[in-house]
Assembly symmetry: C2
Homo-oligomer: 305 residues x 2
């Protein structure tokens, strides 16, 4: 189904064998975006699972071995682990021209910490955020079509130090596994937009679940698809999301303040029995939600986080 | 696919040719839950569409004509219209034993207003809430498998006046079109539970949409399936939902107060940088959300409201 990337990466090294890392390894191989794929995992039993299931051409728990000869290295660990892992990476004898990127949901803190590590080494860092995923986690949930089936948006966040050819190369790579690469954003612009469209909805799903069921879970028996969809991402990994939220605090706090203001406004409308204002309030949300393009059934069957 | 209902209703009259009324007419016919199906709509062009598309055996904009000889009458209009429509209905010469029900998302106000209208007429009212639907509305969105594909929960809300045989009969009818009939609830118990599991999530989806996009809709370009699912029901009909919310105000206000408290707690956790408490907060929601049984692909493809 997918066309091969225009110029496949000779050797891709993916660091982190979770849902995203595993899916990335599978996709890059299947879609021809990389000629060879290596996958690094910390634990030996994961390395064995990778090899047994053929998720990558090679796998290792040794960072130097996994990244030897890599043309493109993708960090696919939780964001709070990336700085220490990248520092190890920067001490390795990587080939000149090696491009390093990541899949983190936060870009400001990641780019600020990772980019300087590679300055002057002949290798370069450029942040990516492929917006695919699932409330499921781990290698067992990895799928070669994770990105393509979700028609996932992917955001590159260059800085003043980024080379144009690296943007082109990374754009081709993500497109090669089925992502829609969005217009470039600064790391901070990324964090602002993603706080609103991803981090806020995650926390609202959490709040909805708790307000619905924390006192008494009986109403769960009445749950329909409305509750199911509205709260799906609240089943996401708490550890992963604690890291994401902690690293994008300011933008998330601003979005939550707006949600709190909206909730106050809505309560006042309902308490004052003002049906006209209630209809206007609901209509304002509908108009905004209706801007989202319709979804194909295929995409809907593979939800992201 | 569906088994015929044990004892089909000889003649079903559905009042209101919207998504639910139209789907009910189609389902009752296709699944053999009623031998004959009549559909009442206020506007003549809808009546013509019903007949042209074969959505019911007969259709009329005349209430007496549509309900003549009916054994079961289902009100499928917005809830705020039901009392006036039921009052008209109660003045008609309905056959003794005719059972009247509705599909309203609110039961306290509906049952309190409708049940007394039929007392002493030889006909009886018993409230129902089949929890199926979609953010789409209107007859064009009607589908024979709306209830079955969603494995929709259906709640009957008897009172001290309800006859046991009416509960049995209505249970068989809803099961006959593919609903899961839940344990009986009082109208007020229904309204409490549904406020938490349906009305609150609807309003939270509205608040999420507004907090994400009201100031600036740019982040929409980054939307993934998380935002899509979390806010889907915010595209529902504002008029319909204004009626529902207005008639279940107290329970909804209580649920929104809990959401506001949860939001305050979450903001305090994030502002104080307490990662342990944040992880616990997210984990508490995950544990509750994980109680919801997994969904089949078929069900997921047909979202309800």
């Amino acid at each position: 189904m997918p066309a091969a990337a225009s110029t496949p990466e000779p050797r891709l090294a993916v660091l982190g064998p979770g849902l995203l890392g595993g899916s990335l390894a599978l996709a890059a191989k299947q879609d021809g975006a990389a000629a060879q794929v290596a996958l690094w995992g910390r634990r030996q039993e994961i390395v064995e699972q990778i090899l047994r299931q053929g998720i990558a051409d090679t796998a290792s728990s040794d960072l130097a071995e996994a990244t030897a000869g890599a043309s493109l290295i993708v960090l696919a660990t939780p964001v709070e682990i990336m700085p220490a892992l990248a520092a190890q990476l920067a001490r390795l004898p990587l080939a000149p021209g090696t491009l390093i990127t990541d899949v983190g949901s936060v870009k400001g803190s990641v780019v600020r910490q990772l980019e300087p590590l590679f300055a002057g080494t002949g290798t370069r860092f450029l942040g990516s955020h492929p917006m695919a995923g699932s409330e499921k986690t781990g290698l067992d949930a990895a799928r070669a079509d994770l990105f393509r089936s979700q028609n996932a948006a992917c955001i590159l966040t260059p800085t003043e130090n980024t080379l144009p050819q690296d943007i082109e190369r990374l754009t081709a790579f993500w497109q090669g596994i089925g992502c829609r690469v969005l217009p470039l954003m600064s790391p901070d612009q990324h964090d602002q937009e993603v706080a609103r469209i991803s981090h806020l909805p995650h926390l609202m799903a959490v709040l909805t679940t708790l307000a619905a069921l924390r006192q008494d879970a009986t109403p769960l028996r009445c749950a329909g698809n409305g509750f199911r969809d509205t709260t799906r991402i609240a089943a996401g990994d708490p550890g992963l999301w604690t890291g994401i939220i902690s690293q994008n605090r300011e933008a998330i706090i601003a979005a939550l303040h707006d949600a709190r203001d909206g909730l106050g406004e809505l309560l006042e409308i309902i308490e004052s029995l003002d049906e006209d204002r209630l209809r206007q309030f609901l209509s304002a949300a509908k108009r905004l939600r209706d801007l989202l393009p319709a979804l194909t059934a295929t995409e809907h069957a593979h939800p992201d986080c």
